[in-house]
Assembly symmetry: C2
Homo-oligomer: 317 residues x 2
């Protein structure tokens, strides 16, 4: 095989996932190894380099075919210089990852944050394939995001663009404080955490709901399942999560006029039940001319979005 | 003079403004001629071409020095092809302006909408000079906008990005309908029209305010002047306009992480009195890490932003 390939690296707190993609974003091989964050930054950097070398060695490709190595990592980054300024889950500071890997691997290396990279993965080779302007939401513990304009990640002046979970979208009268310190952020209502909080509040208030019979910790899936089964309280909670997602998309739509919104993360597994509600709010809240042709669709790459998007950095930068 | 120059064209309903810029965005000469929209599309297109030729002929520069011609126009455009699909103030449809001018002038021609072009002018050579990521608001009859990411205009998939006046920012309970048909748009409260409406409502309600002694049509300037003079009702109205501007900027900040917000248009002439209120709301509503280093400043090019930005299309595309 003589075609060019790209290596994508997704650094998690416990595992580093490495993948080989072709230049169209097709994921050909994956490999996972321990991060070993407890051994410190040097060990982690060496692990990453070794996993990248190993996956290529064990594949039908040669190292000469590698066009570059892209890396996604959670934390505050100096993106142009590829420095991890601070990573909460790896617990290290000011690690010049790009420089280290370029010296060790003798290839072009690009580093970006995990939410941006996952968005790029979906945009490039997932649910946004063929679309130049798209916005990705990840509905998990929080609400993450990534913005793709003209096929490129929007980083912003401090690498902080795409923090969709911190759009102050809930009106002051109903707002609660977010982990970021501000009031009424989208993730206070539309994340798994937000859905669980609303459910617990309802149970604590004594609302009549099947959720009060759950004896283990309530999960977002419990609430969504109860809503689908017709539980009125759960239905209202999911509708509220969908409402503010749709409203936030209406806002993003007039600012950026994307062609497609892509929603991933655990909560998105609620499927069409959730998506239909989001689309309805979006249509009601967005000027017709801006809403026209806009699609709101589920992410399709799942946990592979990170490695694919990391690879995408090399040809979409 | 042997340096390269760019011709910028700002097409208005009654006048076409033409300017010569150097490659740094300095406006060296301007010229204005009648649009003559009533004579139809052919006449307008010929006028534009002739004004462009004339301004260069009457300058110390030669036509050979012209790097290209940029054009800003209000309306719905096919930007890549430079076609005016519909222009409400010129009343014409499907005019292939780019093709016409390229044939007639034998130069590269780029066409974009007036709000985007004015934003690019400020970003390139006005209040955003030296800044790669900025967002411009124009507070006039409506609220217009333009987004600059990595030195380029964000157009969106239908050329509709930057419609900041249609962010649905006023909570449902207090929202009124906007001209666009949707509820609670920013321009219902933060445009000159919005400020005048709130003032008239207050007078009609019989609120105690100096505004009720104005015998002519109330203007936004009347309301701002009364607020500065301590009138409580006027103060509340301007504070409300500032509040939703600040809130909308907080939203834009987490989505795009711009370095600078630039505010122009008639209402922005209220000056620091207005700007300080906007900045305070912005700081309160934006996660600290995102707000850090962000500036909210007045536009400085005034009516020249259009021609300068039109010229900017040629080197920032």
């Amino acid at each position: 095989m003589s075609d060019k390939i790209i290596v994508g690296v997704d650094i998690g707190g416990t595992a580093v996932k490495v993948g080989i993609c072709d230049l169209n974003g097709e994921l050909l091989h994956t490999f996972e190894g321990p991060t070993e964050a407890e051994k410190g930054a040097d060990a982690v950097c060496n692990n990453i380099a070794n996993y990248a070398l190993q996956i290529v060695e064990q594949s039908p490709f040669s190292w000469e075919q590698v066009e570059g190595v892209g890396v996604g990592v959670a934390g505050f980054l100096d993106i142009p210089n590829g420095i991890i300024k601070f990573s909460p889950n790896l617990k290290f500071r000011n690690v010049p990852l790009k420089e280290f890997l370029e010296n060790k691997l003798q290839k072009k290396v690009l580093v970006n944050n995990d939410a941006n990279v996952a968005a790029l993965g979906e945009a490039w080779a997932g649910a946004g394939s063929g679309v130049s302007h798209c916005v990705c939401y990840t509905l998990g513990t929080g609400v993450g995001g990534g913005i793709i304009v003209s096929d490129r990640i929007v980083e912003g002046f401090n690498g902080l663009a795409g923090e969709l979970g911190h759009m102050a979208i809930v009106p002051d009268l109903e707002a609660i404080q977010c982990g970021c310190g501000k009031m009424g952020c989208l993730e206070t209502v539309s994340s798994a955490t937000g859905i669980i909080r609303m459910a617990k509040d309802a149970v604590a208030r004594g609302d009549r709901t099947s959720l009060s019979f759950i004896t283990t910790e309530i999960t977002a899936k419990d609430v969504i399942d109860a809503a689908k089964a017709g539980d009125e309280v759960a239905t209202r909670i999911v509708a509220r999560a969908a409402y503010y997602l749709g409203k936030s998309m209406a806002t993003v739509a007039v600012v950026l006029n994307p062609e497609r919104f892509i929603i991933g993360g655990g909560v998105s597994k609620a499927g069409e039940y959730l998506f239909e509600q989001i689309r309805e709010v979006f249509r009601k809240s967005t000027p017709e001319i801006v809403a026209e042709g806009v699609q709101i669709v589920p992410a399709i790459l799942g946990n592979n979005a990170g490695v694919v998007g990391a690879a995408g950095l090399i040809i979409r930068s």
